[in-house]
Subunit: 146 residues, 2 copies
């Protein structure tokens, strides 16, 4: 996926996709780590924010983290006192992952700050253009998973 050739335009697209994602990741992670969280941990906090909690299965779906890995991430967030497991009524096979008060406080404090940080990369007011970019990416994703 390294050499861009005129013969394989789709390779150039994939390389750009990887590089765009990498650039975004590095940009975002630099900020997240200052908060003492890994990107995956931040993702979980951000996903649980403003919810009543959700089953680990649903959390795994939303964060794109596999269930085995998620167990470890939730463990570490529990150690930090940011998340707790709650047994939902009606199905004792599962747990809800829920933000603790400390987790909610952290979310309220750092999530908007992170959004602002990300937003700095989008200074110009290109509204309709963003919608077009979003559609383009949606289409690209669809090629690999539909």
């Amino acid at each position: 996926m390294q050499e861009t050739t005129a013969k394989e335009p789709f390779l150039a697209v994939l390389r750009e996709l990887a590089q765009a994602y990498h650039a975004f990741s590095a940009y975002s992670a630099a900020h997240v780590r200052q908060l003492g969280l890994t990107p995956a941990q931040f993702d979980v906090i951000a996903t649980l924010g403003n919810t009543q909690g959700m089953p680990l299965s649903q959390l795994a779906q939303k964060t794109l983290i596999t269930k085995g890995t998620l167990t470890g991430i939730i463990d570490r967030l529990e150690e930090k006192g940011l998340v707790r497991r709650e047994v939902p009524v009606g199905d004792r096979r599962s747990f809800l992952a829920v933000l603790t008060p400390a987790g909610e406080a952290l979310f309220a404090q750092v999530f908007p700050a992170h959004i602002d940080y990300l937003k700095r990369a989008f200074t110009e007011g290109d509204e309709g253009e963003l919608e077009q970019v979003r559609r383009t990416l949606r289409g690209l994703r669809g090629r690999f998973q539909d």
Copy 2:
């Protein structure tokens, strides 16, 4: 980066970027692992293919892998007999990473197959569209690193 709000269209874009990349990664990695390589190892093999080898520093740049990690990856590829380190004339601080004959054979065998595999996601003949997608991604990347 989970909830898409009309108020923050750029968040929707970033979420799509993450999901598009994730979908592509999963699609590609499923094939790569069948070859007994990790995605990072495949990336190195693919980058070294059809070259005379290159300094680890350059390889790190191209693959987006940091130099510390690259040391370990090259070590494992050396153990597999696919890559060797070569001391270039004129600068004994560095090494060239070079495919061994076995590495070249593997490259010749699996690289085109992988390209074909990836290509299956791009069945329609949308030539000019791909160029547009590439430009869109290039622009998105630029927001985070320029």
